[in-house]
């Protein structure tokens, strides 16, 4: 980790050329598209991007068009981290053999929740254990949105998806969202962070930290999906804010295992009265609509309970 933190202004970011270009086919209000654009604003030099199969892969690379102003590779759904491993290994040996025309090339691997929590976790865990120098970005829209809103290990408790519909007998997803960032911290990797696009400066700073760190870095970014969440396309960034304010998605970072809350969540920790009720966040999202029916009152309470429990656990970790 470098000692000097990157200093930037909104103007710097605005003036920096986009590397994730306009013209992609993402939906109106797409959280991940905003996330990608911001992340690519944080690059520090030559960069290669690899990506798992998913929404953002599909919307950004429809041949013969591309939204990528950097070299970009997609191979399969479960391979974002293994692709990064191969790219990083190739760069390392090509540099050693004087066949690389750059002093250093950063590697960013993107994957959605399916490509991270579920089908991609083996490759991710392996790549991190091997210590490849790359930044893995999980853009979490909390279900398999590209293929029609199927539940994933990242889908929150209670959410209705096409494979966990809110039925008469089963009210949406019964299981809980896998604490993926904590699982990555357990890998004893140098840098793990969570971020929300509402707090865009925090997000950009964390991307840069992840790139600067030597070895693997993991960034979990909250990425609202109006199509899959059945929410208002104009409110995606608002939900990204509410998720943090309700502690459904606190923002924090772990540097060499030392966990600390990032400012937006720290302010809530310092003034607990500012913590909003999860219902404030759930309301308005079609995927949680059934939870507000009287017969599902317990489900709503359970979401509040698990949110509080996880928040308390995080507070303890952050000392």
């Amino acid at each position: 980790m470098t000692t000097q933190e990157w200093k930037f202004t909104a103007k710097d970011i605005a003036e920096k050329s986009d590397l994730f270009l306009a013209g992609h086919r993402a939906c109106a209000g797409c959280g991940p598209a905003t996330v990608f654009r911001l992340i690519m604003k944080a690059t520090r030099g030559p960069t290669i991007v690899t990506e798992a199969t998913g929404c953002m892969e599909v919307v950004s690379s429809i041949y013969p068009y591309t939204s990528w102003a950097v070299p970009w590779l997609h191979t399969a759904f479960e391979t974002s981290a293994s692709n990064a491993s191969g790219i990083e290994a190739a760069l390392k040996i090509m540099k050693k053999k004087c066949r690389l025309n750059h002093e250093h090339v950063d590697v960013i691997a993107f994957a959605g929740d399916g490509g991270t929590y579920d089908i991609g976790i083996q490759a991710l865990s392996g790549a991190v254990e091997r210590g490849h120098d790359f930044l893995f970005v999980l853009y979490d829209n909390e279900a398999y949105m590209n293929t029609g809103i199927q539940r994933s290990g990242g889908t929150p408790h209670g959410a209705a998806t096409t494979t966990s519909p809110a039925g008469k007998a089963i009210p949406g997803k019964l299981r809980y969202k896998k604490p993926i960032a904590e699982i990555m911290v357990a890998h004893e990797m140098p840098y793990v962070a969570t971020a929300s696009p509402y707090y865009w400066k925090d997000l950009i700073q964390k991307v840069r930290k992840g790139l600067e760190v030597e070895g693997p870095a993991f960034l979990h970014v909250f990425a609202p999906c109006p199509r899959g969440w059945r929410s208002n396309a104009a409110k995606s960034i608002e939900y990204a804010k509410l998720a943090v304010e309700t502690c459904v998605f606190p923002v924090w970072e772990s540097i060499n295992g030392q966990c600390q809350l990032s400012t937006p969540s720290k302010l809530i920790a310092l003034a607990p009265q500012k913590k909003k009720a999860v219902a404030d966040y759930l309301q308005g999202q079609g995927r949680f609509r059934h939870m507000f029916k009287p017969q599902n009152k317990k489900l709503l309470e359970e979401v509040q309970r698990i949110t509080d429990k996880r928040w308390e656990r995080l507070l303890k970790k952050c000392g």
């Binding site: 030559p46 290669i48 068009y65 191979t75 491993s85 190739a90 025309n101 490759a123």
Partner: protein, 410 residues
Amino acid sequence: MQNILKQETMALAGDQAVAYAVKQSDVDVVAAYPITPQTIIVEKFSEYVADGEVETEFVCVESEHSAMAASISASVTGARAFTATASAGLALMHEMLFVASGCRAPVVMAIANRALSAPLNIHGDHSDSMAQRDSGWIQLYAENAQEAYDSIIQAFRIAENLDVLLPVMVGLDGFTLSHTLENVETLPDEAVKKFVGVRKFSNVLTHEGKTAPFRLDPANPMTMGPIALQNYYFEFKRQQEEAMTNALAVIQQVNDQYAKISGRSYGNGLIEAYRLEDAEVAAICLGSTAGTIKTVVDDLRQEGVKAGLLRLRTFRPLPVEAIRSALTNVKAVAVMDKCMSFGGNGGPVFHEVRHLLYDVPSRPYVLNYIYGLGGRDTSPVELRSIYENLQHILQTGHVEKPIQYLGLRG
């Protein structure tokens, strides 16, 4: 043949011969998973890495799926990439094999050909690579450890040829070759390095309108492995087929060029015709079985039987013309399959050979022998019975059973 280089004889098992060839081929990245089932190739190569004998990034991945993903990504970044696997490991790679050929990544992979589960069996047959037949990989099958060594070196030249740019798998029969010690003539390090050369790249038009080498390079951004829909996907696939056709000539050229430095060639690189010129009865097989059949053919010849053998060294691309031409005078052919195509009316090699003989002016009788599954031994006596049956068919003009199982109980 004055330029043939002085070579060193080494006692190597097939796996070790492969690892030694990789060591000499200036490979940049080896991403491999050593198990499912284990082969010595990766272990031996790890020793070279640990002893500082190679300039290679060795990525000890957590599965064969990741092995192939990392090989592809290293290859498209510009590295020369190699991996090795067998059986279940190759099956696990299946999805990624199509990505490798589709991305035109010239990865080279050794396959210690072994049976697929269930029931679990770690011994030799061709079920694993035959199941990858349509994955867009070039497939070479070695007869012995010497050929495994030679073919790995040649494979880099074939794969990286700019008219080909396809991945190559080199099959060596599990245990029969992979674990059996043989004398292997090895070329000097410098000669192999020179033969494989430094990897070249095609120049392509980038989306920025520049011409640049086809690889991931921040100086010339390219989007690789994109989504291509109904309007373009088909053309991508047709180009792969053209590359396969080009490979037919390239495999022959590389076989000839290699012969000039080593003194060794394998037929024309595509097929090896053994005593076929005037043969009336012949077998067709892949891999190490050819060695045994050759002795059977020699015995039969001594007895006055016009017997021959066609060894298919290159299975993909299928050398249609070479096979037709080699079988011109043959009246009865037994196609040997060390693999089953369940419910498919015979094995895969049988299907293909019989199909390419459909258009010849005088078609021979074509039978299928399925043999050796799960490493079952195939004896010279059994192989001889094949030729006896072919002779019987020629005498009677009648094929009783076109598909037979050799050495099967009951």
